[in-house]
Symmetry: C2
Subunit: 549 residues, 2 copies
């Protein structure tokens, strides 16, 4: 027997429609790419997005076609999103931080027909124009005045398209499982793979993130999404802000401490979200300028583990509460947040901070399990670590065009590639990437945990730990250290520093001082490259055994 | 093109599973029907509910079968809910406040096969047992010790069924559109009609209510749902508390001021929800006993319009924030809440109170429109009032067994039967029931507004306004007044009291003093009965015209 409630497909166009009707005058403020801070409203954004849908239709875009954006966070980017998704086409957010070769690979793989681009990226597009044959049109997200210098052949002006097209467009009216958006993973192994979101998955993700223990934003909030729309969908904020009627403040391309601080204060921002490096830059700027945060109440930080100093800095110097979050492109992206349970909320501030350092707990809608290599479930004891797998209505089921093949286990879970612990409060903590974890004598050693401790040494600039082959233990850890300029040190100094901080059998078998520790496009340590560079390396503890072999 | 995210049906069993895994030790506290306050946890509730699913299977219950509950809010009631819904059967909540004849009609119409009942309702069930032939079993929600005096033939003991059955039951694994629950509307005209919720509609409603501007509860909250599970699903709290891991405190059958106050304090409740009369009783009790509210922060009030005195009382005497809500059984039930927008939040306390007196604004997921009798949309100006229609994924599409026929308009909206205004902030205010509104010279007059003003007269105990036939104006208002004991008054005294408070043409053409103003089962004024009683009445303003006819 089926229920008799209304059939109301969960399509994201309804989110902007809601904002346009019920929060029509609520502002959307952007630091424009052209320079000035510009202001519009949800009602205007919706009308302009509908005009763009008609413009895209005029350019021959059909439902299912991929339309890309190569753009910073601005109101125009929001308009392009809803214009594309509302008409049943697929909004493909391109990450401008990728190398041009990767960008071209992704554009071709997605078969993008139109690219919306900020002025910023015209040089790259012009240089590589001939490597993206599927692209029929470029829409430059600016006005006619700024089109003057644009020499990309056939480039169209965003504002002209808006001006010349009617706002009379009926969005939606398709299956809620229709593809809405496409985002490629950074792809540390092999080529980038596409995650194809549906309207349903985005809508449910939006509702979940609106929960008080998740993003918990409200109509009275003013939200600054520093996290880019091209980076895991700005953690859903372009949807959830419209959904609740929060004032939306878009930072454009200026993410430095001074620029972010200026917007936080001038627009009276109450809530923001970004990766740790952005906040590190902000805190540094505030300290240098004796700056204040007079309206900001809460920041959500994710993308990589949040250093304790950032949480303390926000809390003690500026009275701002930090929520640590974890997710991935494959999860739309939110997976866990460190909102306290009642037991944790009853603890003292310092005890609570221990939990804020963890990635947090799942909301309803994310299933999570911890498994060993044999697929056995591991306990939630806060110390046992294992593979982290997830499941839910906004978790990837398969990659675009079948890349990677079948990616779910027998229970329908997706392997995050992370290794983690879960404690008795349900708080998950990432301890490593599965491909980086060191397997020593059948037990696992977390490279991230050792790195985080070692980098605390005052002489260390960067530290990395990798596994090196060992005849008895299979693998043993090696610590690579890049010292601060002018410093010298020894193996014993670093091993002595780690003593008592980690289990004895976790102690690296060697310390290697290097001039460079390579970072990938997203700022994370590139262990693949390090392993390549260390190919000929032999552990001192392994060498004798090898000699006798 | 369809998205490639996971297929994860939105079924409500996943809500309790989530609580059992991630908030396993979080308490569910009940004032039991037997007397003492008893304690359990979400993990226990889930295990016991699964045992009950096996028990129901053993009793022959199949997916789609209706299983009724006639019960107060307790952990056992929650267990029965999830047991029934989790196995794909339909949980039919019966309202014990209905007359036995209506109860029997509903049980027969639903073809309930099993009824879970509290000890409280055994006399009624025994008296009318032969009028409910579809019912094969009664499960008495108590233990063996309390079964001693039970003489209902074939009655089964809840605790024995739990003890004797395995917890090994796989819930879910059916279409999310599967029927989950059934609730009949009070049916002021004709027979009660059934609203058949789906798993999907309940799940989406749960997610929406978790939003910060809706119920906004959190894992750190302790929630007391005074609003019964049989009354519009306790406004979803049996789902949303489990969804966020809030401590759940169930009041059983004692809803008087002293009992509610005792639980609020002893269990450190932070959030509660009930109809105005419950709060009126609580406030009276607190004032009489000089009682305090030391943990309560917020109450949601709905079911009927919230009097200003309650909002002020909570705010000024107890520091508790009131959120006014509106909904209906047909809406799962939440429709609007008075959470402030940024503009309203910036106003002074007294100005904000004006908005708290309104029913509030819609969250994403509820579409709402205002129309005149011709189906034309009316402006959101706060003064124009018209028919209120709603649409959304948890709004009724049709009644059970097709009762009432096609109930949606051309745009898919459901007519609430209410007449309302919507202001420029999106705040809706109910001004009348459509069938009660008076149509005078083509314009509408709100009876509720006049009643609310008239009852402010110190001599008035109850007031009601109905329309009486008028040869020129079609209808004109008549005010019926029941005076306080021992009082006398005149027509002029009441009309004088209203002068300047309402538009001149809204002034009643007559005031009739009556000994009794009848109330319906839900405590609202029974205008149908009043109109019946006033059948022979002729307006003084209409009489001359009639005489000359």
């Amino acid at each position: 027997m089926l229920g008799l409630m209304q059939n109301w497909p969960l399509t994201v166009d309804k989110i902007l429609d809601h904002a346009a009707i019920w929060h029509s005058e609520r502002e959307v403020v952007s630091r424009s790419i052209e320079g000035p801070v510009v202001r519009t409203t949800y009602a205007e954004v919706q009308i302009r997005a509908k005009r763009l849908s008609n413009a895209l239709k005029g350019l021959g875009i059909q439902p299912g076609d991929r339309v890309a954006t190569l753009a910073w966070n601005t109101a125009r980017h929001v308009e392009a999103w809803y214009a594309v998704m509302g008409m049943g086409a697929v909004c493909h957010t391109l990450n401008p931080r990728l190398f041009p070769e990767q960008l071209c690979y992704i554009i071709n793989h997605a078969e993008d027909k139109v690219i919306f681009t900020d002025l910023t990226f015209l040089p790259t597009l012009m240089e590589h124009r001939d490597k993206m044959p599927s692209v029929k049109h470029f829409v430059v997200m600016t006005d006619e005045a700024h089109m003057k210098g644009v020499s990309l052949p056939g480039a169209l002006c965003f504002e002209t398209l808006v001006a010349e097209n009617s706002a009379d467009y009926v969005w939606g009216a398709f299956d809620e499982n229709t593809a809405a958006a496409l985002c490629y993973t950074s792809g540390t192994t092999g080529n980038p793979k596409g995650v194809l979101y549906s309207h349903r998955s985005n809508f449910i993700h939006t509702l979940v993130t609106m929960g008080k223990d998740v993003m918990g934003i409200s109509a009275v909030d003013t939200v600054l999404p520093v996290v880019p729309m091209f980076h895991a969908n700005a953690w859903g904020l372009a949807f959830s802000c419209a959904a609740v009627g929060a004032k939306l403040v878009m930072p454009g391309q200026k993410l430095d401490g001074a620029s972010v601080h200026e917007l936080l204060e001038s627009e009276a921002v109450t809530f923001s979200a970004a990766v740790p490096t952005v906040w590190q830059m902000l805190l540094t700027h505030l300290r240098e300028t004796n700056g204040k945060l007079t309206t900001l109440k809460r920041v959500v930080i994710g993308g990589s583990a949040v250093p304790e100093a950032i949480i303390r800095g926000f809390r003690d110097e500026f009275g701002v509460d930090v929520t640590h979050a974890w997710g991935m492109t494959e999860m739309s992206p939110l997976g866990t947040l460190s909102a306290p349970t009642a037991e944790i909320a009853a603890m003292g501030a310092e005890e609570q901070l221990r939990f804020k350092l963890k990635q947090g707990r799942v909301p309803l809608g994310v299933e999570m399990k911890l498994e060993d290599d044999a697929g056995e479930r591991l306990p939630h004891d806060g110390t046992t670590f294992g593979r982290l797998l997830v499941k839910g209505p906004f978790v990837v089921g398969g990659y675009f065009k079948g890349d990677g093949g079948e990616i779910l286990d027998d229970e329908g879970f997706f392997d995050t590639g992370d290794v983690a612990t879960i404690d008795s409060h349900g708080f998950m903590q990432i301890t490593d990437r599965a491909k980086d974890v060191i397997k020593s004598g059948g037990e696992w050693i977390s490279t991230i945990e050792i790195e985080n401790l070692a980098v605390g040494h005052p002489k260390a600039a960067l530290c990395a730990v990798i596994g090196a082959a060992h005849p008895k233990w299979d693998e043993r850890p090696v610590l690579l250290v890049k010292l601060n300029p002018g410093e010298t040190s020894t193996k014993d100094e670093f091993l002595g520093f780690l003593e008592g901080k980690i289990a004895r059998w976790w102690t690296p078998d060697d310390v290697v001082f290097v001039d460079d520790i390579p970072l990938g496009a997203t700022g994370k340590i590139d262990k693949k490259l390090i392993r390549e560079r260390m190919k000929g390396y032999v552990l001192p503890t392994a060498a004798p055994a090898k000699a006798t072999a």
